[in-house]
């Protein structure tokens, strides 16, 4: 599989050593050469000193999932040498700092010794500079080994150093030193190398969290409250960054309000208070935060208050694997809070969708007067993805839902044939009309409460009324199913009765696996879920297939359970296909799982 524009390179470094920016420069350079790249940060829950990795898959074919088997390991962390070397495929390469030479056990790989520390010690006197430029020296060596375009690299470094132009020359000097050393001592380029390509043209490279934060700015969100937690923190920061650019009035005042709350209870409480009062409001969190927000989510559900919650999922249970990815909160979010509750979920599969689904989320929350959760994860949220550029339709009009203005309130009885009541289902879609505080001197005031209430928002302990209200709220979910984004259906063989359902970050792995399975002789139809509740298309797809692989990243096959319960798909149809080790899914994993079922013999042969 490996060759020109088709390999995996991994950088093993130490957290806090400045390697992160050098690694990003490396990936961005390939991207600007037009080559599809997919970088993944594998980082510890630590600020300095623990091992960290950066894995870059290079694929001219445009396969952007993580792939096992490292072709070239840039081993800069002696702590992890043993494991790092073991990961290199037979016939692969190892580049390491040979200032302290090592004897390596493996004879099936090529070891490239680059005495980085020694070189840097000669040139830079300052310890900090030495450390930082070390990283650029190995990037320099890679430009020779992989035949990278140094001009493009210089452009990338220049962009990173905007405002610190003096540093550019020093960085490029480090690059040149590494490059010259490699040219003099190694056979350059290696068989795995790069060349200018077209696959990345027109794309952008961005993290899902920044995209979602930007999406919230575009969707018109103006109240944000959050509490720091990996991997969601950069979402609120992304919102702030873009709001600071786009949301400042001529007199320098802000058209948005952000509060870093004291905890997640307060973060969701603030977002709900803002939603109640008519601002587009949101919070962002991850697993432990979801647990804390649970009580409030039930309140917003029952009192029918719009709010958007981004859940950037990570490995659980408990603190779990805070810096590893997963999709383990499907059920806890679908049914968050005590009592009978059910929530609208959206499943973006790329940063582009984190952006576009932000608008969907705010529109749906206000239309349905309920919490909407955007279920991203660490992989989409924190890794740079090569993705389609953001697009915006200037004719878009926000759906603010059924909020009555002063005039509408006054004319309500005449227009609708009955007086206004906060929880009256006037239109038959189970969605009532709401008013905002301050609308009218004498009309429209009501009391919002989490205790049982009647159609006029009055406290009640009458069980019949209670049942009537919760039934209507459940019917609202039927309305939701007609409004949420429809799934992406990919019918490869109209006659096939075998299908595959997936969602979120596994999209690149699944699409790649479907190609391989095609070659294996299996044409699988696929459906990518974009939302819960399930739409008619989902039910139709399940009805049209006898055997459906459900691909997800959790232990308990949570989406499969949801399909069984909420779409009434017979359980024997649904084959759980699960990965939950915290790493992004690979195409090979999906392919093997499918082959194991469809053709056990072939699966073994392929292993």
């Amino acid at each position: 599989m490996s060759g020109t524009n088709d390999f995996v390179i991994k950088f093993a470094t130490v957290n806090g050593s400045g390697s992160a920016s050098a690694n990003t420069i490396f990936a961005k350079t390939l991207f600007r050469m037009g080559i599809p790249v997919s970088p993944k940060n594998i980082f510890p829950s630590n600020i300095q000193g623990l091992p960290t990795w950066y894995e870059v898959r290079v694929s001219e074919a445009g396969y952007m999932a993580r792939r096992d088997g490292i072709d070239l390991m840039v081993a800069m962390n002696p702590q992890t040498y043993a494991n790092d070397v073991a990961e290199v495929v037979s016939g692969g390469w190892l580049l390491y700092d040979s200032t302290m030479p090592r004897l390596w056990q493996r004879t099936d790989i090529t070891v490239l010794g680059l005495p980085i520390a020694e070189i840097c010690a000669k040139i830079w006197k300052d310890a900090r500079q030495r450390q930082l430029f070390k990283n650029m020296v190995y990037v320099g060596a890679l430009t020779a080994l992989l035949d990278m375009d140094v001009k493009v690299l210089e452009g990338v470094v220049g962009d990173q150093l905007k405002g610190k132009e003096k540093l550019l020359a020093a960085n490029m000097q480090a690059v040149a030193i590494g490059r010259e050393y490699a040219e003099a001592h190694f056979e350059c380029p290696l068989p795995i190398k790069v060349r200018h390509a077209e696959g990345a043209k027109g794309k952008i490279m961005v993290t899902g969290n920044e995209a979602a934060g930007l999406g919230a700015v575009y969707a018109g969100a103006s109240v944000c409250a959050w509490y720091p937690i990996t991997p969601s923190t950069s979402l609120a920061e992304g919102f702030e960054k873009h709001a600071r650019r786009f949301r400042v009035t001529k007199d320098g005042k802000r058209n948005y309000a952000i509060v870093q709350a004291e905890d997640e209870l307060a973060a969701i409480g603030i977002a709900i208070g803002g939603g109640w009062n008519g601002a587009r409001s949101f919070t962002a969190t991850s697993g432990p935060g979801i647990s804390l927000m649970s009580e409030f989510l039930g309140l917003a559900y029952f009192a029918e208050i719009p709010v958007v919650l981004y859940n950037i999922q990570r490995g659980g249970p408990s603190t779990g694997m805070p810096t590893r990815t997963g999709q383990p909160d499907i059920i806890s979010c679908a049914y968050a809070s005590h009592g009978d509750t059910k929530h609208v979920l959206l499943f973006p599969s790329s940063p582009t969708e984190c952006f576009s689904m932000s608008t969907d989320a705010f529109d749906l929350a206000e239309r349905l007067q309920t919490p909407v959760m955007v279920m991203s994860d660490l992989d989409i949220g924190m890794n740079d993805w090569m993705t389609d550029p953001f697009t915006w339709d200037d004719n878009w009009v926000a759906d603010r839902g059924k909020v009555l203005s002063r005039e509408e309130l006054e004319g309500f009885a005449k227009a609708k044939g009955r007086p206004w009541g906060r929880y009256q289902d006037v239109d038959g879609d189970a969605i009532p009309y709401r008013t905002l505080p301050g609308t009218h001197e004498t009309m429209g005031a009501y009391f919002t409460r989490g205790t049982s209430h009647d159609e006029n928002a009055r406290y009640t302990e009458d069980g019949t009324i209670h049942a009537r209200i919760v039934d209507r709220i459940r019917r609202k979910f039927d309305t939701a199913a007609t409004l949420v984004p429809k799934p992406e259906v990919n019918i490869r063989d109209a006659g096939s009765r075998t299908g595959l359902i997936y969602f979120g970050a596994t999209r690149p792995a699944v699409l790649e696996a479907l190609d391989y399975l095609d070659r294996d002789g299996f044409k699988l139809n696929a459906l990518r879920l974009k939302a819960f509740p399930f739409t008619e298309e989902v039910k139709a797809f399940c009805a049209a297939h006898d055997r459906i692989f459900v691909i997800e990243q959790n232990r308990d096959a949570q989406m499969r359970q949801l399909l069984m319960v909420e779409a009434e798909v017979p359980q024997e149809k649904l084959i759980a296909t699960l990965n939950y080790d915290g790493t992004p899914m690979t195409a090979d994993f999906v392919r093997q799982a499918v082959l194991k079922q469809l053709q056990p013999a072939k699966a073994q042969a392929a292993e």
């Binding site: 700015v217 103006s222 309000a257 004291e262 307060a266 953001f390 915006w392 878009w396 505080p437 009458d462």
Partner: protein, 352 residues
Amino acid sequence: MTYITKPLAHHPALPRNALGLTHRDYEGSMSTLCAGCGHDSITAAIIEACYEMDLPAHRIAKLSGIGCSSKTPTYFLGRSHGFNSVHGRMPSVTTGANMANKDLVYIGVSGDGDTASIGLGQFAHAVRRKLNMSYIVMNNGCYGLTKGQFSATNDKNSPSKKGEANPFDAIDLCQMAIQLGAGFVGRSFSGDKKQLIPLIKAAISYKGFAFLDVISPCVTFNNHPTSTKSFDYVRAHNLASENKLDYVEPKEEITVSYAEGETAAVTLHDGSKLLLNKLDGGHDFRDPDEAILTIRRNASKGQVATGLLYVNEAGEDLHDALDTTDRPLNEIPVAELCPGSKALEGVNARFR
């Protein structure tokens, strides 16, 4: 319990305020609290204060947590939007509401359990953020709604509730509020209308975080271990059903009237006495240290200092810190908030 509406007919002779509204226009629905509950007296004082201030009720938002005290917003300002949130979380909901619309008057009502226990964190941070609101704690030293357990404001040395059963020191919310940076802090007693109404009016007028701790006797549970209405006694003696009071004896509201600089002894429903010391402006209420000292000196004598304890006249609020625009955020159309496609081209370019 069901909702009880009050008849809306107005007597033509009822006095009207500058807005042409009567006292009744500021009332809410009928209280469902125990007869004589101190919380109802505070409700009445809030109604009176808003009426006298000629406040347009629809420009007020009233928010609360959970508890008997937190139910009271249903009983005042029927023309205002209300929000009975979850236990201990009124501060965060009010914060969000205020962020969305800085132009409304926010009245938050909470209990001593709601604020000093489950909601202590949110209380502290709302104070710290200088949220522009009036935060009223109806402080009865117990959990009324869950039937009389001790709250964290129950003072172990207080002559009113000296039962050894409470081994812990009380949290003094006024001292906390001053320490955390509240701009306006006062304490009063539910039955002292003459003191309470002006304090509520001042709190509402104040820009920034105004805190009022209002002592409010619970007629049904008072935590006096020897009292027949204490939690322990009820549990031990109510044969009908554990933890259940089938009948609550109607009690008279406790009122008190005394002059500034005087000390009044109030007899509570359980027969115990509460010593109130009405401050006469003898301390410099602009000085937070002196304010705290005054509270502590009184407490050491078994007295509760009431009145305006502290005020910082340079009123500051959250929006000053956030530097938000003058227009309420919820009034800015989304079309104005959205940067549009042209700007997006620039954003995309940065990611290439």
